[in-house]
Symmetry: C2
Subunit: 315 residues, 2 copies
Amino acid sequence: MEEAAARGGENSGSDAAVDGVSAIIPGWFSEMSPMWPGEAHSLKVEKILYQGYSEYQDVMVFQSATYGKVLVLDGVIQVTERDECAYQEMITHLPLCSIQNPKKVLVIGGGDGGVLREVSRYSSVEQIDICEIDKMVVEVSKQFFPNLAIGFEDPRVNLLIGVAFLKNAPEGTYDAIIVDSSDPIGPAQELFKKPFFETVCMALRPGGVVCTQAESIWLHMHIIEDIISNCRQIFKGSVKYAWTTVPTYPSGVIGFMLCSTAGPFVDFQHPVHLIDENDDLNKSMGPLKFYNPEIHSAAFCLPSFAKRVISSKAR
Amino acid sequence: MEEAAARGGENSGSDAAVDGVSAIIPGWFSEMSPMWPGEAHSLKVEKILYQGYSEYQDVMVFQSATYGKVLVLDGVIQVTERDECAYQEMITHLPLCSIQNPKKVLVIGGGDGGVLREVSRYSSVEQIDICEIDKMVVEVSKQFFPNLAIGFEDPRVNLLIGVAFLKNAPEGTYDAIIVDSSDPIGPAQELFKKPFFETVCMALRPGGVVCTQAESIWLHMHIIEDIISNCRQIFKGSVKYAWTTVPTYPSGVIGFMLCSTAGPFVDFQHPVHLIDENDDLNKSMGPLKFYNPEIHSAAFCLPSFAKRVISSKAR
């Protein structure tokens, strides 16, 4: 509890009913962070299902009253069963529907398996590498989130634990790289810096695409500006920002930075591939819950306050 | 505090530091409701600025740490200075940019003045009637939210307090009616029922448009289905659902029901009027913060789970 209180900064409650859950509302989990000062989002806890401390972070799973099971890393909600479809489908299909016939895909982070599940819908894909730093996330997902961890069951998936692979990633190899990271405090902070984007760029084929989690236009415009500046220097193709709704993420939205390398032009806003719901792979996965071609294009339309900042930097 | 606790249903805290603020986190305001069971959103309170009980509801204003001043009715956030632009601009410009040269506009609810402020941007508008049930909301807004209440300063505005006007609204009069209501529990519940929509329909000219607050696709699909069913029976023109992001509303989104009466066809998704930022009226109001033509069209693109329900009912 001491750690959680220190991390939240504002958390001075002392009457926690359940060990490991926020001290703020007895029996509720509350998310507070310096990343979104002055506000908190809370979910009612039915039962704590898991609590552990990996080499990198605190890992918790609880059954919530109204959002299904919830995965929490370092006190921050990563996934709820009720709204994970929005994040997983958008971070995957925004890049993969923007190119023809992706064959080799790399997922960085994403240890819960949800992005893998979505990549698996593409029959053109031959190889799916996933590089996750924390094996506890993978194990916990396999135990508690079968609808996410199903992604690991695809025989095309090659799981690599640790960071060594990324540093020596094969050059010019991937059609698409998806960076499913947590926030830029804690273990994921390197994934928001220039050297990381340079590595990603090197690992992509000409005209290859990357999609990275890129925070909230309501809360983190300064972080977004930095990401765009870095990406614009490194990626010589398209550099675009998209966003979507995820109720359990701070401010209720999450953004995505989409970039392509020098090579064939990628028009991110207009998908060239339509996911075929009649495809055998898709039938076995069930229908998409969130993504469709219209929501793909709409995701690139920004409110004016964000457009003024982002359009001047993106291309 | 007893009332607030009873309303929240889940609120069993007892260590409120500030009278009138949620008992849940000392020094924080927490929003809980049967409308979104099992979750709460909390803002840190710097200072309670106002607390009163009108004939209809509890009215509170507080200075938050990071969202500016906040207006709360019956324990539910209506407006924060930081994100009000999204709601006010979308609920106003979605309908008004969908028709040519609106002249007579009726606002129902909206006692804070924010919608009036946005309607005032149209030089074609000759008459703006506003029918608000609760004069305390108007008074409180004039005292604490000058950037919203500025809407009342427009000489075209005609303020009517009470419900009598609405019941005897002149027939076939308005080009557009904007229903800026709170949730369908409490004083606004009539504004979600069939007789109300019939009154609205009668008050519109042929091809006139209405835009009503229509809850969250993540939380209230059953309410939305009911609204659409009612509207489809009553409005013989277009019936469309749109949505946008508002971080301090439950689930981070809010929807809008847009309907037109029998008469000239209204294509809500493709605005026919572009707000001219060089117009003298707009210059004095300052630039739009949220709305633009792209975000107008994008607001009608729905996630698949919502599209499957809504598209079968809307037209």
